[in-house]
Structures are given as C-alpha cells and as structure tokens.
Subunit: 373 residues, 2 copies
C-alpha cells in the first residue's frame, strides 16, 4: 500500500458544496481528492513539508512520481513500450510540438477536422509541413464525427481530437489508421472517461484540466520509439526526448499538478477504473440526452456522435436561452453557458461531475420545458 | 478591500510544522499562505467552487487575475509600460523563447556567465544567433560576480542571472547596460527578495518555485514595446505577443499557480513589502555568514558577491560534510545538501524561510564547529 493510500480512502464523488459545477474546464474535481490535497499541501507523507515545497529531486517527489506513473499505467493498462510524460503549456503547446518533432521537413501529416481545437492543431502544423485534411465536419458546424476518411499517401501521422468540447461530439472508436503510420490523439476532454486501448495509438496527449486535475500540466503518453525521434533542431524544452530521457524532470516540472493528477488516478482506480467511469458517465449523459430527445430543446450533436462529456443544446429561441441560463444560475447550476460557436447551453459532465447533478439538471430542464413549451 | 483580503490577515512567516525546509526550489512557502490555499481550493470567494475548478474565463478567475496583477505592480512599482505575463515551462523555456523572439537572424546578444543557468541560457541562444560572452567567472568556479564587462557592438540585449542558486552568488546591482539595448534578467531565485527598479530592465523572468509560489508558472515582466516584437515565425504559444495581447489567457493558463503567486504577493505586501523582505533576508543570511566568517567552514562565494538567498559552504573535509548533513537531517534541518558543482552544504533561505530557522542553523553550525574543530 502506498503512503498516500494509507491516508484514507478516496470515496466516490459527492457534492457537499451546494453548487453544480458544469464548467467546461478547468472543471470540477472529486471532493475526496480536494480533501486529500488540503492535507498534503500542509504535510505530505508525514514529511513535515507540503507537496508544493518539496524539491523535485527529493525522495518525497520520487514517491509521488512512482505512484502517479504506476496508477496511470494500471488505469489504462499502458505497457513499458510507452513513455508517460508530464509537460507544460497545455494542448496548445502540443499542437506545435507534435509536428516540430514528428513531421519531417516537406512532409505531410493527416488531420481530421472536428472543430476549433482540430483547426488550431492544423494551423500550427503548417509551420512545419503540409497538413492534409483527411475528413471534416465543418460544413455542418461540426455537428458530427466524420467517418469517411481520405488519407494521404504515407502521412507522418493521423491526428484527431477524440472529444470536441465546444461542439459536444466524440469519437466512439478510433479512426482507422493507415498502414505504416500512427495515431496522434488530442484527448484533452475525454481522457480516462472510458476504457482505451493505448496500443492502438502512437501519441495521446491531454491537458489535465478536464478529467485529470488542475490546469498547468499536460499528460503525454507516447510510444518510446516515437519519443526518441526529432525531425529538426529544437530548443531543449521543445523536444520530447529531453523529457522522456529525464523522466519529466529535465527542469523543474509542475510538481503540484502531477501530484493532483496522481491522486485523481487513484480516485478513478478506487471507483471502478475506466470501466466504472464509462458506466457512470454514460448514465449521467443519458439522463440529459433523454430530456433533449423528448422535444422542446434542440441538441447540437447528431445521434451517434454525441459526447458523454459535453452536452450541447439550444432552447427554441435565443431569448429562452437567456431565461434558461438566468434561472439555472439562480438554482445553483453553474457554468452552463454554451460557447459562442454553438450558442445556447453546454453541460460539461466530466468524470468527477456527480451523477446527482445530472439528474438535478434533467429535472430542471423538464420543468423549464413544461413551463415554457 | 479585495474579497481575498477579507478572508483573514496573512501574518508573517511561522514554522509550526517542525521542519526547517532549506530546499533550493521548489521551496518553503509562508504557512499563512498555505492556510489560505487550503481554504480556497475548497471554496474561493464564497463561490461554492474551489480555485482549481473555476473556468479561466469566469468572474472568479477574473478577480484573481486583477488582484494578482495589482499586487505585483504595487510590490515593485511596475508601470503600465510593462506587461505582466504568467507563462509555463520555467526559466528553461525562457532560455530559448527570449532569443527566438528578440534576437534577429544573424544578430548578437550579450550574456554574462555566472553559472549553470547562465550557461544553459547561452546554449539555447546559439540556436538563434551569436551569444557574445560579456563576462564570466567560470575560471574560479563561479565564486564571484564579474564586474568588468566587455560588451559587443549593439547587442540585441544583455542577459544576466541575478542570483546563482547553485554557486550562491548574487548581483548587488544591475550590470551597466550598453546604450541602445536593454537588460534581460533571469531573476528566478531572488525576485522580490529586495527592492528592484523595474524601469532599468527590458525583461525580467522568474520561475515561481523559489520566491513566488509552486513550480509550473513563470512570471515574465516585459516592456510592452519589446513584447510586441517577434523576430521570426514561431508557434502561437512561443510568441510573447500572443500572451501579452491575451492577458496570459490565450489558452488555459496555470490558474492555480497564478492564484498562489497572487496570495504570496499579498503576503509580501502585508509583511513590509520588498523593503521589509530585504531587511529580513539580510539579517537571516548574516546570521549564517557570521558563522562562516568565524573560521572552520569554507564559504564558496567571495565577499561582495554573496547571495542573500543561497549560502554555499564546505566543512574542512568531505567526510565532515557527510557527518554535518547526517546530523543536520537528524535535527530537522532538511534540504541542506549542496549541488555537486560546489559540494558541501547549501542553505536556501528565500523570502518565506523563517528567521528563526536561520538562527537555529547558525547555532547548529557553531556547535558542530566546536565539536569537530
């Protein structure tokens, strides 16, 4: 048993603070995790020193590193063929770091365009080579996941965004990867929300601030042979191999963020693992989609492409959207305003969002529809 | 009065946890700050949501941003001619970001080499232009701050490391800046430990993990006309103007780190400001230097170049170094092992390190010298 685990069980998500936090990210954390963090920033592992104040090369942080990596590998059954890295700068930094390291000069990489984050990734890739659009759902304002891929000949990689926070769509399965290349996935907003076969991927990256922890740390899971590559001369901090070879401690890493992520991994393990998350998340989302399917509301995402993480919809009119959001806020439903690209309402219900909050929102939505229908 | 300030006064540094934490960084934080953070990660500003879980574009984080910037400007009297940015990747990322943005193709920038961190900065600059060595103390293992500068003709900037964590040396004043250029300072390990005239600088950058907060956020203070420059085509995240124009919220910033830094700024303000820190830090360091000057121990840094933040010394023999460190650890003095470049002992006594800890170490050192002298 780890030192951390001896400090008390990380029980399931609760909501004793009264607010339903539907923020799209940074997002709600399990209350049991926050309670643990409150203790450990004062004194972790009986060291007499808080987690923010320990040397990143000392024995306590060594322990945090070991626990975090072990929990991450256990969660998603990640083999030793993959490096696990904790980087900084969010997915936005990965958008350029991926092609800078992995797209040869003059080379082509394939991208699936499923929304704003895919578009940003494509924009940054243009600095290094030629991104090829393998598929796009832009014509219908990204209301579905395109399935008909037209890949280029021997792309360096195929990049996709597994869940689209703004539009509320999600890949239910990985896209078919052309032979001789590998998948690169921006999984920022659905990582570890369901089982994943990591062996199908070359690279998975995710900003922590939706399903994993606070903003300021990016989880990168990368096949080790890919992490060793570097297609051009880059600054030390811009090369994956710098971080892979130094166990994410080439320079001072974001220790606190990594530590919280590790506690979240333990929380997931203690609450059914990825299978448990998937069952819980599906039931949570279904409670809201059931209301959308009963009429009145207009869901944005097409059936079959619906996200389990971000549920996007409009009321019958913009005026009603405004009334909805105002009344929701007054009823302790926070963070429901949709992104301007879709408008209306967005309910973000990541791993740590409690099931009771989804049921409460569904009831509020039914009442609102009845009153205004 | 800010919402945060109503939550209780941030009283001076205390040590109720029993350990003297001399870590070189990440380093000790004021206990009053940690107590505030414990509360705010559960529920900040009465929002019913913790600081790690709020949208970076919502009103609570707006408030944190405003308070943090206001406190930072007040602390060091920073005018509106300067942008204040919160970046990621530590000083190690600034080592390349500075020349990438500010050193023209084929241009020259001047560097003062005062140790390992200066050397890393010089190494990264070579990717973009020609760093010119204006001065160096490498010949004497960086035991002093060189004062005789030989600058190049019209350098893009003059870069220096104001405090050298590993060697225990510190600039007492800014180096003379050649006309027509500007100073760039890596102030990671002495920022806000004493008054600073920001108007003398073009750029000041500092990883937070020594004097300002947890690792994972870098404070960058940059003259606005410099922040608008960009000498080459760079990824969005690699350009200062991206962050300056978007108030450090182009993408999801490290909200928690910025928040803690803001509370530390308030703690400094409530404890005498930079003048108060300087008086306190000088007395703290003097208590230890007095013991070094009494014989037995061998201080590394020359008088006149001594750091108020990191005090480096050896015992008369390597064997005695080992005994010293072992006995120190047994007496709750933590993190005293020196860096391998200097060996022996290093006491890091940043702003938040309590004066009583310095007195306790001085007494321990006197006793040890008497016993082994």
């Amino acid at each position: 048993m780890t030192a951390s685990a001896t400090q008390g069980t990380l029980t399931s998500a609760e909501n004793t603070r009264g607010k339903h936090n539907f923020s799209a990210g940074p997002a709600v954390l399990p209350e049991a995790v926050i309670r643990r963090v409150q203790q450990d920033i004062w004194d972790i592992d009986g060291s007499g020193i808080g987690i923010m104040e320990h040397s990143h090369r000392g024995p306590v942080v060594d322990g945090v590193w070991e626990r975090t990596e072990a929990a991450c590998r256990k969660l998603a059954n990640i083999s030793d063929d993959y490096a696990i890295m904790y980087l900084q700068g969010g997915a936005s930094t990965q958008f350029s770091m991926i092609p800078a390291n992995l797209l040869p000069e003059g080379g082509t990489a394939d991208y699936i365009n499923t929304g704003a984050w895919s578009q940003k990734a494509i924009k940054e890739a243009k600095l290094y080579g030629t991104p090829h659009l393998a598929a796009s759902s832009e014509d219908s304002n990204f209301d579905h996941i395109p399935t008909d891929l037209k890949c280029s000949d021997k792309p360096a990689y195929l990049h996709f965004t597994s869940n689209n926070t703004i539009f509320g769509t999600e890949f239910s399965d990985e896209p078919a990867c052309p032979e001789g290349t590998f998948l690169v996935c921006d999984a920022s907003s659905d990582i570890f929300s369901k089982p994943i076969d990591v062996s199908k991927y070359g690279v998975i990256y995710a900003g922590a601030q939706k399903n994993l922890g606070p903003s300021g740390v990016t989880l990168v899971i990368m096949r080790k042979d890919i992490a060793e590559r570097c297609e051009r001369t880059l600054p030390s901090m811009g090369m994956y191999k710098t971080h892979a070879e130094n166990d994410s401690r080439y320079n001072t890493p974001p220790v606190f963020g990594v530590y919280v992520m590790g506690v979240v991994f333990e929380w997931i393990l203690e609450n059914g693992g990825l299978k448990g998350m998937a069952i819980r998340n599906a039931a949570k989302a279904q409670a809201i989609y059931d209301v959308l399917d009963a009429g009145f509301y207009k869901p944005h995402a097409k059936t079959g492409s619906r996200s389990m993480m971000n549920i996007t919809f409009n009321c019958p009119s913009d005026d009603l959207n405004k009334v909805f959001l105002k009344e929701a806020q007054a009823n302790s439903f926070d963070g429901l305003k949709g992104h301007r690209s879709v408008g209306g309402i967005r309910a973000s219900v990541y791993n740590a969002f409690p099931a009771a909050g989804c049921q409460a929102l569904a009831q509020f939505m039914r009442d609102f529809a009845q009153k205004n229908g």
